[in-house]
Every structure is written in C-alpha cells, then in structure tokens.
C-alpha cells in the first residue's frame, strides 16, 4: 500500500532560481513584429499577391511543422512561433507571381527537410527559409525569376524597354554586365524609389525603409546585435566602392548594391538567425564579412548563374558557422591574453 504523500511538495532544481524572463516565443514574436512594416510595404506594392504568398507560406509551414512533430511523436512545436517566422521569411523571398503550389512545396521543404529532420528548432544547421528558397530557385528557376511588370526601368531605359522591364534591378545590371553594355545612369530619384521599395523583387525585400524600421526595433529589443548586419553591409559597401573605383565606367554604384535585391532583408533578418549563426561577437563579424564577400562575388562575377547572391551567401556561411564558433572562442578567464 502506498503511504500518504505530503500535500505540497517544494520544487527542487539546480541554481539559479531566477530568470531574466526572456523566452524563445518572445524572441520569435519580436521578429514577427519587426517584419510587420515590411509586410505592410509588401501589401502596398504587390497588393493581393503579397497577402496570398504570405498566407500560403505561413499556413503551409505551420501545418508541416505540426505534422512533423506529430509523426515524430514529439511535444510542442508551433506555439514557439518559429515556423511562423520561417513562413513569413520564405514568403518575403518569393517573387509576387509565384504559383501557390510552388510556395507550398518550398514551405514543406523548409520545415520538413531543413529543420524537423534534424530534430526541430535549434538543431538545424541551415536557415530553413533560405534553404527552402534555394531549393525553389534550383527546382523552379523560371518561375522564381519571373517578375511582374514594373515602371522603374522605364525611367532609365525609356518607354521602349518593354523587353527588359520584367527583371529585378540586379538582374538588369547583370545582363548589362554580361553583354558589356554601359549601365544606365542611376539618378537619386531612382534610388529613393529603391529605398521606399518601388522596384521589382521578392515581395518582402524591396522596401529598405520598412525593413530598416523593423531592424531598428530588433536592435532596440536586443534580439539581434549590430555585429552581423554591420559587418555584412559594410563589406558589401567596401567591395562595391573598390569595384567602382577600379572601373568607374562599368561598375554598379555602391548605393545600388546596398538598396537592391535582398541585402537589407538578408542582413538584418536572415543572417541574424540565431540558430545558424556564430555565437561570439568576433564570430559574428567574420560571418558578416564572409556573407558580404560571397554576395558580391555572386553578384558581380560576369559568368555567374545568379544575379543575386544573398541567400546563397548566407547559406554558405551557415555551413561555416560551426568552424567559426570553434575558431573564435572567447579567451577563458585566467588564461594568457
């Protein structure tokens, strides 16, 4: 017969017994809040397309996450909001006219292959959203590089440039680079269009303004630190400046590099993904610099297959993260300086 047990047991645990109050859920929620301005900007520039893609990706990610956890017989998953973040980020990296089924395929890949097979959040070596995008870029190259009509090119190429109006600024620049044409002049009006987000591109990456607002929030909330974005952006800037100094005639202006493509989105929201990036400050700087160099190599080497290199750069640096962590350990207190 079992003896009677005391009515209220004290909790016993290891120290410490107090906590900062931070949680994974809160961090993910902060990321979602920070992505809100970019989402609004996407809805403004791409209308229903942005809504549709975001909804589809988030829903597909959540469903996949739930199914995976269920199949593995493991507890709790979608409440930590990480799948929602992946869904939003993936959607932000897709061109507006992408068919729904492709978005679903990408979402399933992101969650199932890039994250849950490793055991879920925290174990994945690669950023799930970017892995999903890379998978889609390679599988559905056509659809992933088809952009809707935009007026931005007509400003520089004239009204007769219909043939090329369905390209991103970077795609356009790369074509010019390949064919050896001189690049059109980028005036300040155009750059301000870029800054606001009035250009071709993936739905969430175009508006630097909205993304910077969100980034400021993340920095304020200390969800991210300045190290990776600063190292990344400054490396891109430095690379671009060197290129334009080396050959002023054909180089793309540095500001164009900063504002176009997925750089801002990548630098602040993807290259700062905690799970797949280094943990030390020095490691973060190396990570950012590496991302910057690889991005610019992919963007500016003539023969390269892709006009934009942010996703691949971050993915490749993700692979280096364990080695960077290993190489940049802090000095242990009491050991030689």
């Amino acid at each position: 017969m079992k003896p009677e047990s005391p009515s209220d047991l004290y909790i016993v645990s290891s120290s410490p017994h107090t906590h900062s109050g931070e949680s994974v859920e809160r961090i993910m929620l902060d990321v979602l809040i920070a992505l809100a301005p970019a989402f609004l900007a996407a809805c403004w520039f791409f209308r229903l397309e942005a809504l549709r893609l975001t909804f589809v990706c988030v829903a597909a990610c959540l469903l996949t996450e739930w199914l995976c956890r269920k199949a593995m017989g493991r507890a709790r998953a979608i409440s930590d909001l990480s799948a929602t973040v992946t869904g939003v980020l993936l959607a932000f990296n897709l061109p507006p006219a992408l068919p729904t089924w492709m978005a679903v395929a990408g979402s399933v890949f992101s969650i199932a292959i890039a994250k849950q097979v490793f055991g879920g959040l925290g174990y994945n070596p690669f950023n799930p959203a970017l892995a999903g995008r890379a998978f889609m870029l390679i599988s559905f190259t056509g659809a992933m590089t088809t952009w809707s009509q935009s007026t931005w090119l007509q400003k520089i190429a004239g009204a007769g440039a219909d043939a090329v109006t369905t390209a991103t600024p970077l795609g356009f620049a790369k074509e010019a680079l390949k064919s050896g044409q001189a690049l059109p002049v980028f005036n300040t009006g155009l750059l301000s269009d870029f800054f606001i987000g009035n250009m071709n591109g993936c739905i969430g990456e175009t508006s630097a303004l909205a993304l910077l607002l969100g980034a400021a929030y993340l920095l304020y909330r200390k969800v991210i630190t300045w190290h990776i974005p600063a190292a990344y952006l400054l490396t891109v800037l430095a690379y671009a400046v060197i290129l334009s100094l080396a050959s002023p005639a054909t180089a793309i202006p540095p500001l164009f590099h900063l504002l176009s493509g997925g750089l801002i989105l990548g630098a602040f929201f993807m290259a700062t993904d905690m799970v797949t990036t280094p943990v030390t400050r020095r490691g973060m700087l190396i990570f950012g610099i590496g991302c910057g160099i690889i991005t610019m190599v992919i963007r500016t080497v003539k023969t390269g297959a892709y006009p934009e290199g942010v996703s691949f750069a971050i993915l490749i640096m993700n692979a280096f993260t364990p080695l960077i962590n290993r190489a940049t350990r802090n000095r242990v207190f009491g050991t030689k300086k």
């Binding site: 645990s13 290891s14 900062s20 949680s23 994974v24 400050r281 350990r329 242990v332």
Partner: protein
C-alpha cells in the same frame, strides 16, 4: 584611507532584479533560542569534524563538541548550553547527508570561551592563526574553506592585497550588508588582524555601488587607519562577489586558470568572516552563530536573524512570522547560487547566509528545449566560456569535448541559465559534466 571606484570591470555578468529592499532595512535580530539544535559536523569544506561528546552529555555554549579531523577541516562548538539529545544523520542544505549532534538547549547563558588575545597587535602570527583555527572560523561567503589555512599561504606566495568582500551580489540577501552597517568597527578590527597575519601591504574593502550606506559605514569605520587602505566601489553587477571576478575588478589581476587568489598575491575574505576573526581573537568566542537573511515573498516578515548554527529552517521561518501563502521553492542561500531543499527540517550552518522562500510567481522553471544558439550565455559568462556548446556536449554525453573547452573553469555562477531564453538548466548540465569529469579523473588515477 580613501574611496575609489573599481578601476577594472570583468567581462560578462548580468543585472538581475535585486529585491534587497525586502529586508535591507531590517536590523539584525537575535533569534529566540530554538528548542532543538541540529549541529552538523560538516559545516566547512573538507573532512567532517570528529564528535567528542556522547548522547546524554551536558555541554556549555562555546564548548568544543567535535574536533578538527585532518588538515582541511574545522572544529565544531556547541552553539548553546544544553543536553546532547542524539548524534544522528541529517540532511544538509546542499542535499547531502552528514552526521549531526543534536543539542536541546537548557537556557543557560554560561559560555566556555577560548582565552582572549587582547593585544593582538603584538601577538605572534602563529598564535593568531591557532586561535582562528581553534575557534572553527571558516569562510562565511559560501564555500566554508577553513580560514586558518587560507591565512597561511606558503612562503613563496607573498600576499600584498587583502580584499574584504562586502559585494553581496546575490539578489535578496542582506546579511553582509547589515553586518557592515551594524558591526563596522568589529569588521575593521577583524580586517586589521587578517592584514597583520598576512603581512599584506594593501587592504581593499569591495562594496557594490547599490549599498551607499554600507560604503559610508565602512569609510567611517576605517578612518584613521594606517597603510594603504581604500574602499573600492564596485559597479553593481552579478557576480561581483565571486572571488576571481572581484580580484580582477579591484586589482586588474586575473587568477590564473586552475590557480588560487594567492597566485596573484591576493586573499579575499568575506566581511562576516572578518567579524568572526575579530570575535575569535578579541573575545575568544568560537564561530557558533551567524547572521542569516530570511527573505522572499513567501515569508511574512523578512528579517536578518542572528541564529545559532544548527537552527532548523522551520524555526527561522517561525521567527519571521511564518509563511505567507505557499512557497514553491525553499532556497538555502541566494537565488543565483543557492540550493533548493525539499523540507524545512534542515539545519543552518556557518556558511548559510540566507534562507529564501519564493512563491510560484517568482521562480522560473527549466525545460528540456534545445539550445537556439542565441549566444546570450556566451556574452554573459564572466569566465569567457561558451556555455551553449558546453551544455550541448554534456547533453550528448561528450564529456571529453566539454573538458577540452574548459568545462572545469565554470564557477557555476548561473549567469548563463539566467539569460537563456530556452530556459535550459545550464548550471545543472555543468555540474553533471563536472561530476563526470571528476569521476573519470579519479578512475584514471586508480
């Protein structure tokens, strides 16, 4: 005598909410003598003391009841006069069991004291050390290392700086704080004795800047002292009270890996220990009682109590007006490094500086979530370790890798677990890993 801000700041550390106001204003109160004292024979680091009394004996307060047993050990004295009711096993706050002498106090006020050394300024160093050893003085900051040994470093390790630790960086606890306010003069004498024994040139009193009244009290008490003495005001940051971090903050010296403070010419003594040294030398009173903060939101009236060693936690709680609501956790010590206990039927000792009772709303629970590599623990670790990687290695039973990345340098301060958004039991992992390393090492020795 001067007051200076600390010239250095250790990297890492955290800023928890301190909640010291709960009892920092409560003057030290003497606990009414409990009906039963369970005096553990292991209130110090090292071998437990060997009992000298038998069940049924009558003892006087201050009488030696268990003698020092080996080099690293300390004697135990009767905290009160009375009858030895039993010698039995008891559960200690740290979760181990050890033998204890149970005394039922009879209310007699007669003390059996050691001979006083009133003219300590001219006394021989050996006699002073012998007195401190005979009085059973141990480090009262937590570890309980015998003070006698700490104050006699080998000749090739000259000590030039004595640091009096009044940082009390643990949230909630205020016992050292109250000691500095109410026994400032005695602490000064204790510090002078320690300085004299070590022949140290400099004396620093290290206090965090969140205790301005204690700083003022120490400034006043140390007026007119000769030599290089200063109150060093530390930036409020946990763990300023940790020996290695404090030495760095005060002197800029880093205790080498695996080394001791004496390797960099320093000795750190807690202010309460300084008081105990004073009491032992000037009054001949052995260390049998201490001030303990009984605090937290689950106790009616948070207090600083002067309690004899061996007081059961239940008696301490009763003296504070009993429980308020239902405590979820009962912690011996502070919230950062204290031990949880499973019952209030546990005795205090020489090292217990606090008893913390927290309700469910004030504590956090641990989960088995995966590490999300946010790196906050890496930033917070005052030892420059990578707790994230360490905990993952240990979780995967990869003890060898953990040892390679400096597991044994962990001081278990708890900064990593405090900041962890995944609520991982980081310190628990570290302790488990260390235990496995120790087991491996002792197996290799055999």
């Amino acid at each position: 005598m001067q007051t200076t801000p600390s010239p250095f700041t250790f990297s890492g550390g955290i800023h928890p909410s301190y909640n010291k106001e709960l009892c920092s204003g409560a003057p030290i109160r003497e606990l009414p003598m409990p009906a039963r004292l369970v005096v553990p024979l292991s209130q110090h680091l090292g071998a437990p003391a060997k009992p000298l009394v038998n069940v049924g004996d009558t003892v006087k307060a201050g009488q030696l009841i268990a003698e020092q047993n080996g080099f690293i050990s300390a004697p135990v004295h009767a905290p009160a006069g009375g009858k030895v009711a039993a010698i039995e096993e008891t559960l200690t706050a740290a979760g181990r069991t050890c033998a204890a002498i149970v005394i039922e106090p009879d209310g007699s006020q007669e003390w059996e004291l050691l001979p006083r050394i009133a003219d300590w300024r001219t006394a021989d160093k050996k006699d002073l050390l012998a007195q401190i050893g005979a009085a059973g003085v141990v480090g009262m900051g937590g570890a309980g290392f015998p003070t006698r040994i700490k104050l006699s470093p080998p000749a090739d390790k000259p000590i030039d700086t004595v640091i009096l630790n009044g940082a009390e960086c643990e949230p909630y606890l205020t016992s050292d704080h109250r000691m500095m306010l109410e026994f400032a003069r005695e602490i000064r004498v204790g510090a002078e004795i320690i300085r004299q024994i070590l022949g140290a040139k400099s004396l620093r009193i290290a206090i965090e800047d969140n205790k301005p009244d204690a700083i003022a009290a120490m400034e006043q008490a140390f007026q007119g002292i000769d030599g290089d003495v200063a109150v060093t005001v530390l930036r409020t940051s946990y763990p300023q009270g940790s020996e290695k971090q404090q030495i760095y903050s005060v002197t800029g010296r880093e205790v080498p890996r695996g080394g001791l403070p004496m390797d960099v010419g320093c000795v750190v003594e807690n202010v309460s220990t300084a008081y105990a040294v004073y009491d032992a030398v000037a009054n001949g009173r052995p260390l049998v009682r201490r001030v303990i903060s009984v605090t937290g939101d689950a106790v009616q009236q948070p207090s600083n109590l002067l309690a004899p060693a061996g007081t059961l936690y239940s008696d301490l709680v009763a003296a504070c007006g009993g429980l308020r609501g239902k405590p979820a956790k009962v912690i011996s010590g502070g919230p950062m490094m204290g031990f949880t206990v499973s019952t209030l039927n546990v005795p205090t000792g020489k090292t217990a500086s606090g008893l913390l009772l927290l309700s469910a709303g004030k504590i956090s629970s641990y989960t088995s979530q995966a590490c999300i590599s946010c790196g906050r623990c890496v930033d917070a670790c005052p030892m420059g370790l990578n707790p994230s990687e360490l905990s993952q290695c240990i979780e995967a039973d990869d003890i060898e890798s953990a040892e390679q990345i400096a597991l044994m340098d962990c001081v278990e301060c708890g900064c990593c677990a405090y900041v962890c958004p995944a609520h991982r039991p980081m310190v628990h992992h570290m302790r488990r890993g260390k235990a496995l390393v120790m087991a491996k090492r002792s197996a290799a020795k055999k």
